[in-house]
């Protein structure tokens, strides 16, 4: 057990570091496509974290949907908007805005960190129970049926909306 835990910790920290770096690169990259690729890295890292948290189905779904569809969507968007390939200086707001944003981010992190630390100081997970996919589907289709239907309607609406909006008329 202990070895497992140690391994999980190490895995966690490594992946976390990679994610953070990648995330920072997403928001600071000057190349649009590079930013998208960094995003892929972040999203993959997130999926790995899910595995660590014994949420297999969600991890797979994350990879499929996010990396597979959404990023592709982003790339399509980049392509369709004739984004400048290569270095693009125009991607950031002027400096004052960046500083303001940075300040807000820092402050927000500070508040959250404090509250998080204050709430779950040293709580451990205990024995992680791996949830099966079957259990997830059971939950979805019994307890959370209505939200599920709503989500489907939402997706439908989004689909139609996107089509309508982006039609070339």
């Amino acid at each position: 057990m202990l070895a497992l835990l140690v391994a999980q910790n190490i895995a966690f920290y490594v992946i976390a570091a990679v994610m953070v770096v990648a995330a920072i690169r997403v928001v600071t990259a000057t190349n649009l496509v590079h930013a998208a690729l960094w995003l892929v890295m972040v999203l993959s890292g997130v999926a790995a974290q899910y595995i660590l948290l014994a949420a297999e189905f969600v991890a797979i779904t994350q990879v499929l949907v996010y990396v597979g569809a959404i990023v592709v969507l982003f790339l399509f968007g980049i392509m369709l908007t004739r984004a400048k390939t290569g270095r693009d200086e125009d991607l950031d707001n002027p400096l004052p805005a960046k500083i303001g944003a940075g300040a807000i981010g820092v402050l927000l992190f500070g508040v959250m960190a404090y509250s998080l630390w204050d709430a779950w100081r040293g709580d451990e997970f205990g024995d992680m129970v791996v949830q099966r996919t079957g259990q997830v589907s059971d939950a979805i289709f019994s307890t959370y049926l209505v939200p599920f239907e709503v989500i489907s309607v939402l997706l439908l609406a989004a689909l139609i909306g996107a089509i309508v909006l982006a039609r070339r008329d």
């Binding site: 805005a97 303001g100 944003a101 807000i104 508040v111």
Partner: protein, 756 residues
């Protein structure tokens, strides 16, 4: 008459002069006939006074009947307060007392519509009021209660304000006098005022005057008499100032009115006092008289009341010292002078005393004193008027002073208790004085409208009618037997001599002196006017018949009327009782009348007065006609000339009144009022205006501009400014909104985490 006044006033201009005169004359004739009817009824009543049973039993069908009804029956009910009442029947036949008064064939018969026996004031309806018949006193007849018809106008606090007529011998006599003389004046005026531009106006006022005089005479209460009194004063004012284009005429009219006003104050106070003296219950004349006699009235109140009333008499009837308006009033047309200032208006005062005689008798203790104010004033006035008549050159002024003097006689007579004598003198005087005035008018008409005797003379050759009538009237005025003046004047002197219980000696002396003076100045006037050589311009001519016939009528009256009061024994000539003292019998009231003594005919006094009168005439004849005597005295003797100037300036009374009293009052008063107005009133107004300006300025500048506008502007400014500021947040940039959102989240999270 009132109807005639209104008719003429409104339609006179249109219908033209003849018709106007016709209306006026017609109305007066109606009144005359009705007056004669009244007199006849009254005489009948005196002869057959209603008995007690009769009084009680007959019913009055005239309750609420309008005057249009021709006849109503008689009724009286006895109650316990003072007056009897009967409503009387309309006179349908012209009973005759003196047929020479019945006028031109146009006389309307008594079925005259619309007028009851007493020319009512236009609004009166008649309702009988009930009262009792008192047992009478004095005289040879029993008490004959006068006929009273009243209607109560309104009642305040238990006091009835009535409105009605009182008919007894005195008012019947006055009715006849006023009607006859008014009628003759109306006729005379058609010629005298021919071509005058305000002819209709004149006739309107003549009608109004006659109406108000009749109203006054028939008044059953003192308030009504007051109204009539004031109205005649007003008409006098209007008529004196008929030719107001000349300032002296309008001044004279004003003087008449204002002087009368001064006396009227006394009259009004007197009316009020008599009201209170009569137990504060009624203004009714009979009530007041009974109350005064009964001894229940406060003696002081009666005295004061009679003195106040006498103040009114002083002004209206031209007693000293308020007589100054009478001579100036001669500025009016001569017929007006004849009517108003000889025969009717000026006797209003005398009538007042005669009517309210009980008040005067009890108040002034006429029965038991030898001297009192009223008699003295009357006596003094006679002498004073007589003296002043000597220095006049205007014939009308001579007559005016003569009127003053004769009025003094009447007042003196009433003052010494010779009631019948005074009233009888009033009666006769009216006729011969009117004759004299109309004669003077005729004379001036002939002499091209001058009244100055120095420009006349020798007119007897040119104007025989006028001359003879004037002569007759002069003799009557002087008191020569057997003309009317002798009888009446003699009675006055007898009254003064014998008095009530004591003799009024001083009054007798005054009376005798004046008898001499009267004859003298009238003789002077007569001789200057009608004898000698004509000193004026052109050729005088006799006046037309329209003017001379009234003169003849009046002269005839002057001759005849004296015999109506033929005394009981005249130098041993005893006539049967039905022939003697008729006037007194019918006229003297027997109801609510004080017990007065009637002086018997005094032979020595009659002879003495006749001698004095004849002597006066002869003296005048000698002085003026024959130029004997002390001519040129005024040039030689300082005393005489001083006396002459004194007389000429009318005892400087006019100066006293207008220059000293009036000016001294009105000058400082006016100046004080002006000062007050300029400084105090204007100061207040200006001050308040200045204050208002300052306050409003302050309010405007500081309050309104600064504060109010500041607040309003400020709020607008604030909202605009804040809007401007807040506007900058709306950049339209989504990222900015997001930034704000997230920073808000941060703040909120911080608050929730750290604070809460």
């Amino acid at each position: 008459m009132a109807a005639s006044f209104l008719l003429i006033l409104f339609f006179g201009k249109r219908v033209g002069t003849r018709a106007t005169a016709g209306i006026g004359i017609g109305a007066v004739s109606i009144c005359l006939v009705l007056s004669v009817g009244v007199a006849a009824q009254w005489i009948d009543r005196v002869n057959h006074p209603p008995e007690g049973a009769e009084l009680v039993e007959q019913t009055n069908a005239a309750y609420g009947e309008t005057p249009e009804d021709a006849r109503y029956e008689v009724e009286a009910v006895t109650t316990e307060s003072g007056e009897t009442v009967e409503s009387q029947g309309e006179g349908t036949e012209g009973g005759t007392e003196g047929t020479d008064h019945s006028e031109e064939g146009a006389a309307v018969t008594g079925a005259a519509p619309g007028e009851s026996a007493a020319a009512l004031p236009a609004a009166g309806t008649e309702v009988a009021a009930a009262a009792e018949g008192e047992g009478g006193h004095g005289g040879e007849s029993e008490s004959v209660p006068p006929v009273v018809n009243t209607v109560t106008w309104f009642t305040i606090g238990g006091v009835d304000f009535e409105f009605g007529t009182l008919v007894d011998g005195l008012s019947a006599m006055m009715l006849i006098t006023v009607s006859i003389i008014s009628l003759l004046v109306h006729i005379y005026s058609t010629e005298y005022l021919r071509g005058d531009e305000r002819f209709t106006h004149y006739y309107a006022f003549l009608s109004l005057f006659t109406a108000s005089m009749l109203f006054y005479v028939l008044g059953s209460n003192t308030l009504q008499m007051l109204v009539g009194w004031e109205l005649v004063g007003l008409c006098s004012f209007a008529l004196i100032g008929h030719w107001w284009e000349e300032k002296k005429n309008s001044d004279a009219a004003l003087k008449a009115f204002l002087t009368n006003r001064v006396g009227d104050m006394g009259l009004i106070i007197g009316v009020v006092i008599t009201f209170f003296a009569a137990g504060a219950s009624s203004f009714n004349v009979l009530h007041i008289n009974s109350y005064a006699l009964s001894g229940a009235a406060n003696a002081t109140l009666l005295l004061v009341g009679s003195l106040c009333l006498f103040a009114g008499v002083t002004s209206k009837s031209g007693q000293f010292p308020l007589h100054t308006w009478l001579p100036d009033a001669m500025a009016g047309p001569t017929p007006v002078s004849a009517l108003i200032h000889a025969a009717t208006m000026v006797v209003a005062g005398v009538y007042l005393i005669a009517r309210l005689y009980a008040v005067f008798f009890s108040g002034l203790s006429i029965g038991s004193s030898t001297f009192h104010y009223v008699a003295f004033i009357g006596g003094f006035t006679t002498v004073m008027g007589g003296l002043l008549a000597f220095v006049q050159t205007d014939i009308k002024k001579v007559l005016a002073y003569s009127t003053i003097s004769q009025l003094g006689y009447m007042v003196m007579a009433l003052g010494v208790g010779a009631w019948t004598a005074g009233v009888f003198h009033l009666f006769t005087h009216a006729f011969f004085k009117a004759c004299l005035f109309l004669g003077a008018g005729s004379v001036s008409h002939a002499c091209h409208h001058t009244f100055d005797m120095r420009e006349m003379g020798g007119l007897r050759k040119y104007m025989p009618s006028t001359h003879i009538t004037f002569a007759i009237a002069t003799l009557a005025l002087a008191g020569i037997v057997p003309f009317a003046g002798f009888w009446s004047k003699d009675e006055i002197l007898a009254g003064a001599a014998n008095g009530q219980e004591n003799a009024y000696t001083i009054m007798l002396v005054f009376g005798l002196i004046t008898a001499f003076l009267t004859a003298a100045y009238m003789g002077r006037a007569y001789w200057m006017t009608f004898w000698g050589e004509y000193r004026g311009h052109g050729t005088p001519h006799e006046s037309p018949k329209v003017m001379t016939i009234p003169l003849w009528i009046l002269a005839a009256a002057a001759v005849v009327l004296g015999f109506t009061n033929f005394p009981g024994s005249f130098f041993g000539l005893e006539l049967p009782e039905g022939w003697t003292t008729r006037f007194e019998h019918y006229v003297e009231p027997t109801f609510a009348f004080p017990p007065i003594e009637h002086a018997e005919f005094t032979p020595w006094l009659a002879i003495l007065s006749t001698i004095l009168a004849v002597g006066g005439l002869l003296a005048a004849y000698a002085y003026y006609e024959r130029n004997l005597g002390p001519h040129g005295l005024t040039r030689h003797s300082r005393l005489a000339s001083g006396g002459y100037t004194f007389l000429e300036n009318k005892y400087y009374l006019d100066t006293l009144y207008s220059d000293i009293i009036a000016a001294d009052t009105k000058g400082p008063l006016a100046r004080a009022a002006y000062w007050f107005n300029q400084n105090v009133l204007d100061g207040i107004i200006d001050g308040s205006a200045a204050v208002a300006r300052k306050v409003s300025g302050f309010v405007y500048r500081d309050v309104d501009q600064l504060i109010v506008d500041g607040a309003v502007n400020g709020s607008g400014f604030v909202s605009e400014g804040s809007g401007q500021l807040l506007r900058r947040i709306q950049t339209g940039k989504v990222q900015q909104y997001a930034a704000i959102l997230f920073s808000g989240v941060v703040v909120l999270a911080g608050v929730l985490v750290f604070v809460v």
